[in-house]
Every structure is written in C-alpha cells, then in structure tokens.
C-alpha cells in the first residue's frame, strides 16, 4: 500500500479506522482519500484497506 506517497506494505486487510488509530492519528482531525476518492468520515469504520490501495491522509496546518 502507499500512504502519503510512501510504500507501506499491508500485512492483512484492516479497516481504515483501525489503521488510522494504529498510526496514532486522531480520525476526527484527518480527511482521507482512497485511490483518489474521498472517504466520508462515517465510512472510516466500514472501509477495508487492501495492499493495492493508495491512501492520502491530510490535516490542517498553519497557513496564510
């Protein structure tokens, strides 16, 4: 799998919510694209990641 442009092999299918939590990331404060498609927050628990996925996980930072 690719996470934010980096290769991150996925051992076994896992829900997006579980994956984010394992990364130490607050799911309430990120937005996610899976293969170019936005995943609505309500689907974080039901979406299952595959090793072929490309994931973008973004959050707010300071900016002008």
């Amino acid at each position: 799998m690719k996470l934010n442009g980096e290769n991150r092999p996925l051992e076994e299918p896992v829900s997006l919510l579980a994956y984010l939590t394992a990364l130490g990331c607050d799911p309430g404060k990120v937005a996610v694209e899976q293969n170019g498609q936005i995943v609505p927050k309500a689907q974080f628990a039901s979406v299952v990641l595959k090793d072929t996925d490309e994931l973008e996980v973004v959050s707010f930072v300071g900016g002008g």
Binding site: L23, V30, K41, F60
Partner: protein
C-alpha cells in the same frame, strides 16, 4: 448606532481583521488570535504528520471561523480537490481559493481561480478567491458565485504594503461583494489605508508572524483596521490639490 457587521456566507463578523496562521509557533497561535480579536483565520491542508505532534485546531478558539486555503494547488483541478478534502474535516464550507504556479513572485493564476470558483460555488462552498486585483477577473468571480474577493496588496509574504491600491480601489468601487485585502500588507498603517479606502476587511499573516512581538503586533493590526474602518464610515475630509485653506476664522484679527 447600528452595529457595523461584515456578512460573508451568511455569517456575521464584527472583526474585520483576518489572520493567516502560517509561520507561528502553535503555542503563540491562540494568544495572537485573541490579542487581534480575530474571528476568521486561514489554514492550509497538508499530508498529515503521522508521528503525532500538536494539531493546530487545538490552538484556535472554537468561535473562530476557519477559512481553509488551497495553497499548493497549481491549477483549478488541484484547488477543487483540496477544497473538497478540507470540507471533509468538518469545519465548515468556507474556502479561500489560492492557485499559484509562478514560483518567483507567487502571483495567483486568476483564470484557474475563476474555474475553481465556478465549480466550488455550485457545490455549496462559500468561496473567497485570492487574486491579482483585476476588475475583469473580479466580475467573472462575482458571476461565478464568489462570496467575497481577496485581492493582493503585494506579493505574498513580502510585507511591501498596498502597492496595488488603485486596482484594489476599482474592485471596491465596482464589485458589490466584500473586498478583503490579502497578502503583502506589512504594517498596520497599510492595513488602515486599505480600510479607509473601503475594503471590507484585511488579512495579514507574515506581517504579524515575523514581528518581534507577534501578540502585540496582532493588537496593532486590530486597532489600525478599526481606525481605518471608522474613518471610512466617517467619510474622509476632502483634499485640496493646489491651495491651502485656513482652518481658523479669517475675521476678527487683532490688527486693523
């Protein structure tokens, strides 16, 4: 007296000083917002730092309206993608469209900005496009459904001031939308001048973030914006080009 409020996207603002949150330490962010009595701040969207660390949302008072920007976008398509992702963060529908593909002066691409505005306004976003002040582009943005227009005063981060004053003035005169002067404003006096001209608000970031005392500078900007707004509402006194005019009476002199 009726309260002087600014309405954008159905939201009422009493503060006309907007703050960009880039280049600050997270610890100073809250104090600076409070000192400037800021009610709208811009944010950027980036790949999440997955190692943890502080999140800027924890340093912004909940009453403040968030205006995510689309910085990093080089064309309309990328701006639309960033705006949609920003909305997924659940902090509202406001977005500042910022499309830049000029790496030297960082001048915004007005044509791509118009395209992105058309798409996002239709999707229900409250769109505040950041542009080079150009009357024709501003008319197109108004027709595309922009909620306000954000013309630059000078190149981003330059602190050079209101170099575009005559062109910003055209927008203020001709476009029936709030005109928010954004980028390049380096000193409170320049923010004040923009407000005296009739700008609806001023956004500053670098001017505050690179000051020696950021908290005090935010307060200085707040006061300057208030002074300029009050002067605009009061109606500036007229200018004489080629003569003087006594302020004191021309009668009753102590001489014959």
């Amino acid at each position: 007296m009726q309260q002087d409020t600014l309405i954008i996207g159905g939201k009422e603002f009493t503060s006309r000083f907007f703050l960009g949150t880039g280049k600050f330490s997270l610890e100073k962010t809250k104090e600076t917002i409070e000192s400037g009595e800021v009610e709208m701040v811009t944010l950027a969207l980036r790949r999440a730092n997955l190692g943890g660390g502080g999140n800027i949302l924890d340093y912004i008072p909940k009453t403040v309206t968030l205006l995510p920007n689309t910085s990093g976008a080089r064309d309309a398509k990328e701006a639309v993608r960033i705006a949609r992702l920003a909305r997924e963060l659940g902090c509202g529908d406001f977005v500042k469209i910022e499309v830049i593909n000029d790496t030297k002066y960082l001048m915004p691409d007005n044509a791509e900005t118009i395209k992105a505005t058309e798409i996002l306004a239709k999707e229900g976003f409250v769109v505040l496009p950041y542009i080079s002040p150009d009357l024709i582009a501003a008319r197109a943005l108004r027709d595309a459904g922009a909620a306000a227009i954000m013309p630059l005063g000078a190149p981003i981060g330059s602190n050079k001031g209101l170099l575009t004053r005559d062109f910003v003035r055209m927008l203020i005169e001709e476009i029936d939308l709030p005109i928010v002067v954004d980028a390049g404003i380096g000193r409170p006096s320049q923010a004040c001048e923009a407000m005296e001209m009739g700008a609806a608000a001023v956004l500053a970031n670098t001017a505050v973030a690179t000051a020696k005392d950021v908290v005090a500078m935010a307060r200085a900007f707040k006061l300057a914006v208030q002074a300029g707004r009050t002067a605009y509402l009061a109606g500036l006194g007229r200018v004489l080009e080629y003569t003087g005019e006594a302020s004191s009476p021309l009668t009753g002199f102590l001489q014959d």
